[in-house]
C-alpha cells in the first residue's frame, strides 16, 4: 500500500492505494467518481480521459502514484457548479451529441483540452486531437460540429470558464438545428 495525495477537481484527496493502481480505478472504486469510464484498459478508446494539470491523459493506463501532488480534473469538475455547464458541455447539448453517452465524458475532456490550446481548431485539428476517442454510436459528425460551436461559445465568454445555466431547464437550451436537414416532403 502507498499513500497518495493529489488535487481532484480543486479538492485535496488523500488515500491509501495499492502501488500500480491506475488512476481510473482510484477515481471509480476508491472515490466513487464514476463519470470517468472504463472502456478498454489499454489507452485505446479514450473513455477514461481526464486532465492532469490541464493535459489529457488516459487514466486507465496511468499509475495513480504519478499524479501525487498534481491536479486532476474529471468530467465532474469541468463546470463551476452543479447548476452550470462548461461551454463544451453546452455545445454538446446544442448539437444533440450523446446517444448511449458512455464515451462522452472522455470525448468532452479531450475536446476541452483541444480548445484550451487552440481556440479555433480546424477539422484537421479536430481529427488529430479526437482520434483517440472511440464512439461506437458514431456521434463523430456531431462532435466535430459541437467543437466548432464550443469555440464560438468560448469566444463569447472568454473571461468566464463556464456558462451559467442556473437550475438547468432543458426547455431553456436552444437546440442548434443548423445540422438538421429536415422534413423533405417529396
Amino acid at each position: 500500500m502507498a499513500d497518495l495525495a493529489f488535487t481532484l477537481n480543486g479538492q485535496q484527496q488523500t488515500l491509501s492505494i495499492d502501488e500500480g493502481t491506475p488512476l481510473l480505478w482510484v477515481l471509480r472504486d476508491h472515490l466513487a467518481m464514476t463519470g470517468t469510464k472504463f472502456g478498454c484498459g489499454m489507452g485505446l478508446c479514450g473513455a477514461c480521459t481526464v486532465h492532469l494539470d490541464g493535459s489529457p491523459i488516459r487514466s486507465c493506463s496511468y499509475p495513480a502514484q504519478y499524479v501525487s501532488g498534481r491536479s486532476i480534473t474529471t468530467i465532474e469538475g469541468l463546470a463551476e457548479s452543479d447548476d452550470a455547464l462548461h461551454p463544451v458541455q453546452q455545445a454538446w447539448l446544442e448539437m444533440n451529441v450523446p446517444q448511449c453517452g458512455y464515451c462522452q465524458s472522455g470525448q468532452i475532456m479531450s475536446a476541452v483540452a483541444l480548445l484550451a490550446n487552440n481556440s479555433a481548431p480546424t477539422d484537421a485539428d479536430i481529427d488529430s486531437a479526437m482520434a483517440g476517442n472511440i464512439c461506437r454510436c458514431g456521434t463523430y459528425p456531431r462532435i466535430r460540429k459541437a467543437i466548432h460551436r464550443a469555440a464560438e461559445l468560448k469566444g463569447a465568454v472568454s473571461s468566464a470558464a463556464t456558462v451559467g445555466v442556473q437550475h438547468y431547464d432543458p426547455a431553456a437550451v436552444v437546440l442548434n438545428t443548423t445540422h438538421i436537414s429536415d422534413g423533405e416532403i417529396v
Partner: protein
C-alpha cells in the same frame, strides 16, 4: 455515485431478509405493479401521477442510445399536453403489461419500440389525461369542454389547478373504457420535439450505467472463463491470488473461476496469478477458415430449405451468372463492457445492470439459481451501447451465480478482452447469388444462404432455459421453426424484396457448427443487404444500366423504396461526383423502414477513403426528427466499421481478437461527412435504430467497384 434512494431502499429490504414487494403472477389476475404506490393515480402500468403532481413514466424499453427515453416521454407528453421535459422517466422493472404485442416478452429489439408503442403509450397517457380532465371538471364545476390540460395543470378561462390538486378526485373516478387520441394535425411535440431528455446527464457524467452502481460492502468480481467456448475448469490453484491485496474469495462458478476483491484492479491483478487447468472444449479445433470452407461445401452438397419462391422456374431463361459472397463473425463491442451487480439472499436475488430483455433474463437467472422468477428483480440502468449484445442474459446469470455462491453483494465487471472474446457474434454467412439474363433482361434472381442459426445458437449455448413453461406462443413458434431447419434471421433482407423479376427464389442451408452467435444491430439484414444490393449492382453493370435507373426499373411500382432512392439520388447529385470521387448506391428496407444511401469514395494506394454519405430515410412520421437523423448517422458509422474493418476470427475454438487494436472501430479522422434527409409521411412511425446499417456496406462496395472495377464480395472490403 450512489444508487438512487429508491433502489437502495429496495436492496436494503433484500439484505434485511425478504423482498419488499412480491409479485403475484398466478392465474390471470393482474399482477401488482412493481412501481405501485398507494397514494398515486395509477390507472395503468405506464403512467402515474404522485400526490405532489409529478407525472412519472415507466420506461419499459432500454435506452441504449437509440433515443427511446425521449421518444416514449414525448408520446406520453403529447396526450397530456405537457412539455416532455416535465415528465419524470423511471426505468421499469418487469411487469407482464410491458410485454410486447409482437414479441410476447418485455424486450428491446427489432427497432420496434416506437412502432409498437405509438398507440399503447399514447393510450396510457390519454387515460391519465381523461381522468385528470374529468377531475378538473368536478373541481371547477365546469363542463370538460371548458378546460384544458397544460404543462401539469388544468386550466380554464378563469383559473387553473395543478395536478396535485386533482389527484384525490381523479383516484375516485372510474377509468374510461375508451379514450380518444389526439389527431396528428394537433400534435405539439410529436414530430416537433428535437431535444434529448437524457443528454444533460450524459454530458455531465451523471448518467448512471450499470457499471457505475455502488452497493454497500459489495465486492468486485472478475471471472476467468475458458478461452475456448464451452470449456470448463478442471482444477485451479488460487493460493497466490488469495495472498494479494484486497482479495477476499476465489471460487468456481459453473465451470469458470471468480476472483472477488475490494476493487476491480485488485481482482484483475490477482486473477492473472490463478493457475488454471481447462477441460476440453466442445468447439476445440473449430476455425473460422474451416467453417467458411464448410459453408462453401454445403452450398454444393445441400439443397437447403426453400424460404421463398415467386414466379415459375421455367421463366429463368438465358445465360446464368453466379457470384458467391462471404461475411465474417462480428463483435458488438459496446463501449461499456458487460457488467452486473447482484445481491443474493435466501429469499431472492436482485440485479442492477443494463439489459435489453429483462423478461428472458428473469427466466435464465431462475433457471441457473433455483429461485422462482417472482423472487428475482432486475433494475435496469442506462446501457452503454446495446446493439443486440445486451439481449443476452449471460452476464446477469454470472453475477447472480457469483453472488449466490459467495454470499456477498458483488459487481461483476468484464474486461474489454472478456467482452471481445465472450460475445454472441453476428453470424458468418455465405451466399450464392445467381441470375439469368436473356436479351439484356434479367429473368431470374436466386439466393442460396448458408449460415448458422441464431435461434439455434440460443438452444446450444444459452443455458438450458429455452423452453420454460412460461414462454409464450411467439417464441415457441420460432423454436418450432428450428426443427424445420429454418431461421427467419438468416434470410431476412433477401426475401420480401420489392424487386420484381420473372422468377425469384431464396433457399437456406443451416450450418450446424458455430461459436455463439446473437442478434447484432440489424441482424440478418446486416449481411443480406450487402449480398442483395451488391448483386443488384452487378446485374446493372452486366446489363449496362445506371445503378439507380436499374433499381427503379425493377422495383415494384408501389414500392416505398422508389421515393427514398430518388430523394437520395437527387440530394447526392447522383452521377456527378466531385472530381476524383466515385459513387455507389444501395436501398434497403428493414424493420419496416426504408433507407437509401449514396457513398462517395476515392481510392489510392489500395486504400478506400469515404468522403461523404448521403442518406434518405422513410420511417413514417418521426416522433423526434433529430433522433431519426442521429440514428441514421449512427447506423452509417456502425456500418462503416463493419464494412472497412470488422472481422472476428476463430482458431481452435477461441476468438483471436482481444481489444480495439485488433478489432478496430472507425475513428473521428475516418468519419465522413453525412447528410440525412427524411421522406416525411403521415403514416404511423416505424423504427430507426437498425435500418441505417444495412445499406452502407453495399453502397460502399458499389462505390469501390465504380472507382476500381474490382467487385469485392467479402467483408471487410479489402482491395487486391
Amino acid at each position: 455515485m450512489a444508487i438512487s434512494r429508491r433502489a437502495f431502499l429496495k436492496s436494503s429490504a433484500v439484505v434485511g431478509g425478504g423482498l419488499a414487494i412480491g409479485f403475484n403472477l398466478s392465474g390471470c389476475a393482474r399482477a401488482q405493479y412493481p412501481h405501485y404506490s398507494a397514494a398515486d393515480l395509477q390507472p395503468n402500468a405506464f403512467l402515474q401521477v404522485t400526490p405532489s403532481g409529478e407525472v412519472i413514466l415507466q420506461l419499459h424499453k432500454s435506452e441504449m442510445g437509440q433515443g427511446v427515453y425521449t421518444g416514449m416521454a414525448t408520446m406520453a407528453a403529447e396526450e397530456l399536453n405537457m412539455d416532455p421535459a416535465l415528465i419524470t422517466v423511471q426505468q421499469a422493472e418487469f411487469h407482464p403489461d410491458f410485454r410486447d404485442p409482437e414479441f410476447y416478452v418485455m424486450i428491446t429489439g427489432g427497432s420496434s419500440s416506437i412502432k409498437l408503442n405509438y398507440v399503447i403509450v399514447r393510450e396510457a397517457a390519454a387515460t391519465v389525461a381523461a381522468l385528470l380532465r374529468a377531475a378538473a371538471a368536478e373541481h371547477f364545476s365546469l363542463p370538460e369542454s371548458a378546460l384544458n390540460l397544460k404543462d401539469g395543470k388544468a386550466v380554464h378561462a378563469g383559473g387553473e389547478v395543478g395536478f396535485a390538486g386533482l389527484i384525490e378526485i381523479a383516484r375516485s373516478l372510474p377509468s374510461p373504457k375508451q379514450v380518444t387520441l389526439k389527431s396528428p394535425q394537433d400534435f405539439q411535440y410529436i414530430g416537433h420535439y428535437n431535444k434529448r431528455l437524457d443528454a444533460l446527464a450524459k454530458v455531465t457524467g451523471k448518467a448512471t450505467f450499470g457499471i457505475d452502481l455502488q452497493y454497500p460492502d459489495a465486492l468486485t468480481a472478475v471471472l476467468l472463463r475458458c478461452p475456448q467456448f464451452g470449456g470448463k475448469v478442471q482444477s485451479f490453484d488460487a493460493s497466490q491470488a488469495l495472498s494479494k491485496s484486497g482479495v477476499k474469495l476465489v471460487i468456481e462458478v459453473d465451470g469458470a473461476v471468480a476472483v472477488l476483491a475490494d476493487t476491480y484492479w485488485q481482482a484483475r491483478q490477482a486473477a492473472a496469478t490463478v493457475k488454471l487447468v481447462w477441460g476440453e472444449s466442445p468447439l476445440a479445433g473449430i476455425n473460422s477458415d474451416s467453417l467458411r470452407a464448410e459453408r462453401h461445401q454445403l452450398l454444393v452438397s445441400e439443397d437447403g430449405k426453400n424460404v421463398e419462391e415467386k414466379g415459375e422456374r421455367s421463366a429463368a431463361i438465358g445465360e446464368r451468372f453466379d457470384a458467391v459472397y462471404d461475411v465474417p463473425y462480428l463483435a458488438h463491442a459496446t463501449m461499456e463492457p458487460m457488467n452486473a451487480l447482484a445481491v443474493a439472499t435466501a429469499e431472492g436475488i436482485e440485479v442492477w445492470t443494463g439489459n435489453q430483455s429483462p423478461d428472458i433474463a428473469l427466466s435464465e437467472i431462475a433457471d441457473a439459481t433455483g429461485f422462482k422468477r417472482e423472487q428475482i428483480r432486475i433494475h435496469n440502468q442506462m446501457l452503454g451501447g446495446g446493439f443486440g449484445r445486451r439481449i443476452m442474459s449471460d452476464y446477469l446469470v454470472e453475477a447472480a451465480r457469483i453472488a449466490q455462491l459467495s454470499g456477498r453483494p458483488v459487481k461483476l465487471v468484464w474486461s474489454r478482452e472478456d467482452d471481445m472474446r465472450g460475445d454472441f457474434y453476428r453470424p458468418n454467412s455465405t451466399v450464392a447469388m445467381a441470375a439469368t439474363i436473356a436479351n439484356n433482361e434479367v429473368s431470374s434472381l436466386q439466393a442460396k444462404v448458408v449460415a448458422p442459426s441464431i435461434i439455434g445458437g440460443f438452444v446450444q449455448f444459452v443455458t438450458n432455459s429455452i423452453l420454460p413453461q412460461w414462454l409464450p406462443n411467439g417464441l415457441h413458434k420460432k423454436i418450432g421453426g428450428l426443427a424445420a431447419d429454418t431461421d427467419p434471421a438468416a434470410s431476412e433482407g433477401l426475401v420480401h424484396s420489392d424487386y420484381e423479376f420473372p422468377y425469384m427464389r431464396t433457399d437456406y442451408v443451416m450450418q450446424k457448427t458455430s461459436i455463439p452467435i446473437g442478434y447484432w444491430r440489424s441482424v440478418g439484414h446486416s449481411q443480406n443487404a450487402f449480398f442483395m444490393e451488391s448483386f443488384i449492382d452487378e446485374l446493372a453493370n452486366r446489363t449496362a444500366q445506371d445503378p439507380v435507373m436499374f433499381r427503379l426499373a425493377h422495383l415494384a411500382k408501389d414500392s416505398r423504396r422508389r421515393k427514398v432512392l430518388e430523394l437520395a439520388a437527387a440530394k447526392a447529385n447522383w452521377g456527378k461526383p466531385p472530381a476524383g470521387q466515385f459513387q455507389g448506391v444501395a436501398v434497403h428496407e428493414s424493420f419496416s423502414t426504408v433507407v437509401a444511401q449514396i457513398v462517395n469514395v476515392s481510392v489510392s494506394d489500395f486504400k478506400i477513403k469515404v468522403h461523404k454519405v448521403v442518406c434518405a430515410v422513410e420511417c413514417g412520421m418521426a416522433i423526434n426528427p433529430d433522433i431519426v437523423i442521429m440514428q441514421m448517422e449512427s447506423g452509417i458509422v456502425f456500418g462503416l466499421t463493419a464494412a472497412l474493418k470488422g472481422e472476428i476470427t476463430v482458431v481452435d475454438g477461441a476468438v483471436q481478437q482481444s481489444n480495439f487494436h485488433d478489432y478496430e472501430i472507425l475513428r473521428m479522422n475516418e468519419s465522413p461527412e453525412i447528410e440525412v434527409y427524411r421522406v416525411d409521411t403521415a403514416a404511423a412511425p416505424t423504427g430507426v435504430g437498425e435500418p441505417g446499417v444495412p445499406p452502407l456496406a453495399p453502397a460502399l462496395a458499389n462505390a469501390v467497384f465504380a472507382a476500381t472495377g474490382q467487385r469485392l464480395r467479402q467483408l471487410p472490403l479489402r482491395l487486391a
